[in-house]
Symmetry: C2
């Protein structure tokens, strides 16, 4: 049975030493959340995740969700009670607006909490996760009446939410969607059509489900310009807030999936369902997109979360399993064999995961802090930078963290040998659950296209040049620091490669768009490695400072430096390979005629 | 529902144009199998795989194997009938010794056949696959009486076989095994103990199952020097060949696994079971190892097989699924969207798989040909080289082909977007089935250690230096050929990197064994890429020659060259990254104290 221990020390190090969030204690959100309180919240959260959610992870995988003939859905044993405890303890409202009952904590705190939830039980975490998406949509685009009607219950967790985009014939290409909305005399609409892959689409955890649905108003333009967003509650809500009659939306099927069995992935059939327009007519896609940065960051974090929990269990097994002897002589001479953590290739797999986890977590937190500053900072210049960075980093975090999360979960499963393949040991579930993160919320190929096609060139490349300048400034300010030299040198190389790739793209991507498409995956990965190299440099600097400031006796900081140096030696070389691949251009990728595949 | 089409054209090209097996028509095995006959056999085999085995693949995944309380096991619906047809058509005896009813075809033909079987239905293919392992063990190490008693029925498929190595506390480290063998007055033994992860360990396909079991004779030395190999039939066999009483071996459990559900992975409990020593006392491990090259080649092929079938289905979906428009302008203007094969990043994933599949298949076939020559050639020098190459290449094929097989299956699943995650579409199964190939028959980390620790230095590095010389000779003989230049140049680079890595290992691996262990994974991958670069050069040369010899109008040869150039542009750069990583040595890998993980 796999276990989970929240990386609280990592959170403290990141928030206090690396990001120094006390700098922002004058800003809204931060002012009510001093570091001590944040630590306390995360400690409580850790107990809940470790004690309540993690033990249900395997239960959820084994039992899955069951649909009855009437379309109702039963979640796995224990989920309902855990959800009750979850909402009663206020976990659903952590970073929500106090105006609607939320606790108004910085998003960066919610990020740490979300990682813990996803590591403990990703399928469970998706229920409140989707609610938060619906909350964001209504909070940003709803009328006051809509906010009053739906937000308090979404914040408290009494109701949950969903996002309805995909239809059988349209996933990425939402311009093709057919779900229809017919205007009614009272200003409402009647929604009809079929949506698929709706996570948390139907279940028994909450009294009501608020579906956010993309549909086309009768007579609207073709393509993406004719799509509107609607609120479609499972139970209609009266003016007094009481639940009224059942709306015309039914779960037609639960999909059998590779993983996340504990979450009900539904086919939802809308048949003349009452819906309410949210935001402007035909601007539904834009309304949806404004939420995407947050949602995609969250999915990137899910990738990391599976890497983290798989790593923890890989380590436990590697310390426990006795098999063979160290090639440099027995390390457990009195035992029948050495623990397999003595073997370099076992360590390679674990160190790959560890160095990624700590670098990727820093990257996600560093970016999320900009998300907070975007809302809270009075400094217009900083808000602009924050907005630029959020746009630029989000596809990288979504794609790079989920691809590596899957790879690391696979490697940590490999540490178990044959036992890794047996479901009983739980490692297979981490791999199978991690797999979805590469696909949903915009498949990773789409993220890469978003990066090279939209984010890179926006405002004349303002975001990427700011990032380059920031790295240059860091190197200039720190390259004299002897202990930092491997980090500033590594970062310098990575940044030079990324700059080279960026220039190549700017020169060749416009003359032939296929060059941009063909380069996108490798460019994104080159970007991800460079960002992590920067994060490792920041962490190394913070660790060295902490050592000087009374932390010399704490092995934590030296271990941090050792892990960072592993990243430089063993992960950085991939960046150069990505550069070579992307510069080979569209030619090799496009040369084969489609019929020759 | 996924489909499969056997790559018959690829087999023809490899056997006739690349390997020119007609050169060997004077050798045993080959003399009875002219190319025309081989083609005919493979065509018949293809029909069987496509028509009978492939349609049962998903059935096997969904139903799995069921164990009854008496320990009997039922295979998935259709498996029994398919197995009957399989044996009746003689597919179980293809490359077996004619002295025992086999058809005596070259192993390279069986290799093609095995790939088709594994692509169609890997879980099914493991039943006859394990039988062949048992056949090999008895054929090589059994007494005449044992051969007469067991081989004809294993060859005909009337009985199946298994290999019993692993116990709960010992997998890789077989020195720890505890299963006991107590000598009896009649020369037989009584075997007691528990074996786990026994593929095809119990089932309803055949009348008898011949278990090959590693056990320790009472009083034998500790460790690997006290292990013997035993034949333990499920039903005892009388002197007349008739089945006698049920032996003391029972399936205690079927494991719930990530994949290959159609194969019964059993816990086998031996309780005073009658067993017969095969080979010499205490030399069981050596007897087992002599079969390993063949078995590991077979597993490498399974990795390729899942990459191939996932690729085929990825292509079919990419041509069929309409979503978005080409970034260079609509390619299907009359349709609602373009097929997704127009998108460069979709092509990247498919081309990665295609370039790997064709290169890896060449590598497996090229190596398997040496396996045939090892047995059939009268040339002692050639037999020595064949033996060297088989030893050197086998761990690379096992590990590189399975790691990439899994990665490609994952990428082809990614082509399906959300549908890839739904079991209904079948792509998840390819990934889950492929995953075991990295683990069983020696986990891939063990393969890498075998390569750097045993194979590389054997006979003063004779095998690897022969390989380098062969590549140098090829380059020298072909570098003037203009159309081959990209291939000879690419190969030259790869070989230089591999040589550099080899020298580094020879210098640093002996002074600190951890350097060898830490480098092993990257060295093996560097080797794999270099081997494929050589295979692509061989294929390119053969394709150019075929074009000149009347094939100019056949697009097959140009497509071959295009695919090879993709490999050079997009896969070769990884070799350099592996070199950099391995040369960073053991330091970064071993620096962290075990308790700091």
């Amino acid at each position: 049975m796999p276990t989970y221990k929240a990386p609280l020390r990592e959170y403290r190090f990141l928030l206090q030493n690396v990001l120094e969030i006390e700098r922002y204690s004058n800003l809204p959100g931060f002012s009510d959340a001093p570091v001590d309180l944040i630590n306390q919240v995360l400690e409580e959260g850790a107990k809940f995740c470790e004690g309540v959610l993690a033990p249900l992870n395997k239960v959820g995988d084994e039992h899955g969700c069951k649909r009855s003939e009437d379309g109702s859905v039963t979640t796995p044993p224990g989920f309902k009670e855990a959800y009750r405890q979850f909402t009663e303890a206020g976990w659903s409202s952590l970073s929500s607006d106090p105006a609607y009952g939320g606790q108004g904590m910085p998003h960066i705190v919610a990020l740490a909490w979300n990682e813990m939830v996803a590591s403990s039980n990703m399928a469970f975490g998706m229920y409140p996760g989707l609610s938060h998406g619906a909350y964001e949509a209504i909070h940003q685009h709803g009328t006051d009446a809509q906010k009053q009607a739906y937000l308090p219950k979404l914040v408290s967790g009494e109701w949950t939410g969903t996002m309805n985009l995909t239809e059988p014939h349209c996933g990425t290409d939402l311009g093709m969607l057919r779900t229809k909305a017919i205007p009614q005399a009272d200003g409402s609409y009647r929604i009809s059509g079929q949506k698929i892959f709706i996570s948390a689409g139907e279940h028994d955890l909450a009294k009501n489900i608020i579906h956010l649905v993309l549909a086309r108003i009768e007579g609207a333009p073709q393509g993406t310009k004719g799509i509107s967003l609607f609120i479609v509650p499972k139970f209609l809500v009266g003016a007094d807030g009481a639940l009224g009659k059942r709306n015309g939306v039914v779960c037609g099927k639960i999909e059998e999936k590779m993983g996340i069995h504990g979450n009900a992935t539904c086919v939802l059939n809308y048949d003349d369902a009452v819906g309410y327009l949210i935001g402007q007519e035909n601007k539904g896609l834009m309304a949806m997109f404004t939420m995407m940065n947050v949602a995609r960051l969250g999915v990137g974090l899910q990738g990391l979360s599976q890497s983290e929990v798989a790593y923890q269990n890989g380590v436990a097994y590697a310390k426990d399993r006795l098999q063979g002897r160290s090639i440099t002589g027995a390390k457990n001479a009195n035992g029948p064999a050495d623990p397999i953590i003595v073997h370099p290739d076992i360590r390679r797999m674990l160190m790959d995961a560890k160095a990624f986890n700590e670098g990727a977590r820093a990257f996600a937190f560093w970016t999320a802090l900009y998300g907070d500053l975007l809302h809270a900072s009075p400094d217009e210049k900083l808000r602009e930078k924050a907005n630029d960075y959020m746009g630029l980093m989000t596809p990288v975090i979504k794609s790079y963290l989920t691809d590596k999360g899957y790879a690391n979960a696979t490697n940590c499963q490999q540490v178990y040998g044959g036992h890794g393949y047996i479901e009983e040991w739980g490692m297979s579930q981490f791999v199978r659950d991690a797999r979805i993160t590469q696909i949903y919320e915009g498949a990773n190929g789409i993220q890469a296209l978003d990066l090279v096609g939209r984010k890179l060139g926006a405002n004349g490349g303002r975001a990427i040049f700011a990032f380059f300048n920031e790295i240059d400034d860091f190197i200039a300010a720190n390259e004299e620091e002897e202990d930092l030299v491997p980090f500033t040198e590594g970062l310098k190389n990575a940044k030079a490669w990324l700059q080279d790739g960026t220039m190549w793209l700017m020169q060749n991507g416009m003359t032939n768009f296929d060059n941009a498409g063909a380069a996108s995956h490798d460019y994104l990965n080159l970007f991800g490695i460079t960002a992590l190299a920067y994060m490792w440099a920041l962490q190394a600097k913070a660790a060295l400072a902490a050592k000087k400031n009374g932390g010399a006796a704490d092995p934590y900081y030296d271990n941090k430096l050792v892990t960072g140096r592993y990243f430089l030696a063993r992960s950085l070389p991939d960046a150069s390979a990505h550069l070579h691949k992307l510069k080979s251009g569209a030619g090799p990728v496009m040369a084969l005629a489609a019929e020759a595949f």
